[in-house]
């Protein structure tokens, strides 16, 4: 049989595309390499506790009565009622550069007040910037890279404020070093600051199981533990997919959510000049990877003075968002306390802290097995010392811990170099040089958990349904 569409990759974008196609009666099959769905944003079990991996927050949070922003849009498109997500908003988060701190909540006026207090000379220009961003159509495709840094400099004169505003948007999605593509910046700025942060009850498992149930209920076919070996192409078309188990699958159209360079390596025969995109440069694997530490505490971290839901910090004069020269860059990072979302009746009395830092994939890759283990231990220790020293006694509350390196990320997500934000060049309209092959998810360019679902929806709509 020939499917109407096959989707490669069962992350949030692939699942969202699948729900749309299955809902409208398309004969669709979703292929996932891992036993579990979710891709970049999933979960695992550590000594009986369910722990989320991937982004620390669902951004784009808005209360139920707001109808026009990305979150309610994707819920309507997926026919998922708002209340089914059971979202709990953040309490307060902050951007801390040395001793300067900007706090933000899910109320944009709170951020404006913070800027007015801490950067009084910049507030008028900051208001102008945010007004111009609210009218900017970040979701419409533009081909060339636009430097957000340049645009921010045209509005703001204080370099510290510029760095502090860029920092969270970089950590939460930029695949460029030391900058953000402006359309993506506009999406991230609104999703983080104008809308807000939240967490569903039960974490990512909730989102993934809602999508999975919906997909199966609509008649979508799902194959997990199913690795694609090759996309067989001929005459600029994918003709069939060869799976690792020897099985062959055919479809009219193919959607890949696994990333541009990753998709390219699967293609048997690319049209000359052997590029997937019709752009000057070919999509190359990204440079930016991360390590993440998971700390399980006796009691919630707020008991030790760690009250923020998310903290973006930088301890140097010049913030660098780039591949570090060493294994890990501990001078900056993100601290997330999932227990600091406003959760009713939390299921546990334990606390958790997640620490994220930039890391160098290639250096991790070079280590011997023994060195790798030693360095993991060393990073766990150093990161805790560095990031938690301001919260007295917190270290004594740690009862379990775990660490992911760029190699762990590569193994579980399939992203080359463990580059979770993918290639700097994006397939913004979803098209490739292969007529019936489309790209959704990270390498299409919409960011965040809601953004990536919107990506899957948009690609399914525009290239298959409409």
């Amino acid at each position: 049989m020939v499917y109407d569409a096959v989707i490669i990759g069962g992350g949030l974008s692939g699942l969202a595309a699948g729900v749309r196609l299955a809902h409208f009666g398309r004969n669709v099959c979703l292929l996932e390499k891992q036993p579990r769905l979710g891709g970049l944003n999933s979960y695992y079990t550590l000594k009986g506790r369910q722990i989320d991996v991937g982004l620390h927050a669902i951004t784009n949070y808005v209360p139920r009565h707001i109808k026009t922003t990305p979150l309610p849009k994707i819920l309507r498109q997926l026919r998922i009622p708002y209340n089914d997500l059971e979202l709990f908003p953040q309490t307060i988060s902050c951007i801390r550069f040395l001793d300067k701190e900007i706090n933000f909540t899910n109320d944009f006026n709170f951020l404006l007040q913070e800027i007015a207090d801490k950067f009084p000379k910049q507030i008028d220009q900051f208001v102008k910037l945010s007004k111009s961003l609210s009218g900017y159509e970040g979701y419409s495709p533009s081909k060339e890279f636009i430097s957000s840094r340049k645009i921010l400099h045209s509005f703001l004169s204080d370099p510290l404020l510029i760095e502090m505003i860029l920092c969270p948007t970089m950590f939460y999605g930029s695949s460029w070093e030391n900058d953000v593509d402006f359309p993506q910046f506009s999406i991230l700025f609104r999703s983080l600051f104008c809308e807000g942060l939240a967490c569903p009850r039960g974490g990512m498992r909730k989102v993934i199981s809602l999508l999975k149930e919906k997909y199966l209920h609509c008649g979508g076919e799902l194959k997990t533990n199913c690795q694609v070996q090759k996309l067989i192409t001929s005459d600029n078309q994918v003709t069939q997919i060869l799976l690792n188990n020897g099985e062959i699958i055919k479809a009219q159209k193919y959607i890949s959510s696994i990333g541009l360079p990753e998709t390219k390596t699967l293609c048997s025969d690319l049209p000359l000049p052997k590029k997937l995109l019709d752009q000057k440069e070919e999509a190359r694997p990204g440079n930016l990877s991360f390590i993440e530490l998971i700390l399980i505490l006796d009691t919630p971290p707020v008991n030790y003075g760690l009250k923020h839901t998310i903290t973006f910090y930088n301890d140097t004069e010049h913030f660098l968002y780039q591949r570090p020269q060493e294994l890990v860059d501990l001078k900056s990072g993100v601290i997330c306390c999932p227990s600091n979302y406003q959760i009713d009746n939390p299921s546990t009395k334990e606390g958790m802290v997640r620490l994220t830092h930039l890391a160098n994939y290639h250096l991790w890759k070079k280590l011997t097995r023994e060195e790798y283990q030693q360095q993991k231990e060393f990073c766990l220790k150093r990161s805790q010392e560095k990031t938690l020293k301001r919260y007295s006694n917190l270290e004594k509350a740690i009862k379990a811990q775990d660490i992911f390196t760029p190699l762990t990320i590569e193994k579980f997500t399939g992203r080359i170099n463990g580059a979770i934000y993918g290639s700097p060049l994006k397939a913004k309209d979803g098209r490739t040089n292969i007529k019936n092959l489309f790209i959704c998810g990270t390498d299409q360019g919409f960011l965040g958990i809601i953004g990536t679902m919107l990506s899957g929806i948009t690609i399914a709509n525009q290239h298959i349904l409409y």
Partner: protein, 83 residues
């Protein structure tokens, strides 16, 4: 389908797309999109739901005829006469 059945079906489709809106208060005249929050993606979903449920193809040029409840029912009546 009768006019009444078409109207009921349309309301059912709209309330499936926007479950939080009270569609029973929709006026017959006046644009649907001005009475409840529907964006262009939602509007296209109405067209696709009609196609899915009744196999009716609505050409893009005719989309403006689906602006209000009354005009939609008028437009759909001959198309759904035998459904």
């Amino acid at each position: 389908m009768t006019k009444e059945e078409i109207k009921t079906s349309l309301l059912d489709i709209i309330s499936e797309i926007v479950p939080d809106e009270d569609v029973n208060n929709l006026e017959g005249e006046g644009a649907i999109r001005e009475q409840i929050d529907l964006d262009s993606m939602d509007f296209l979903d109405i067209i696709m739901e009609l196609r899915k449920r009744y196999k009716v193809e609505i050409p893009e040029d005719d989309y403006p005829k689906l602006a209000s409840m009354n005009s939609s029912v008028e437009y759909l009546e001959p198309l759904l006469a035998n459904k």
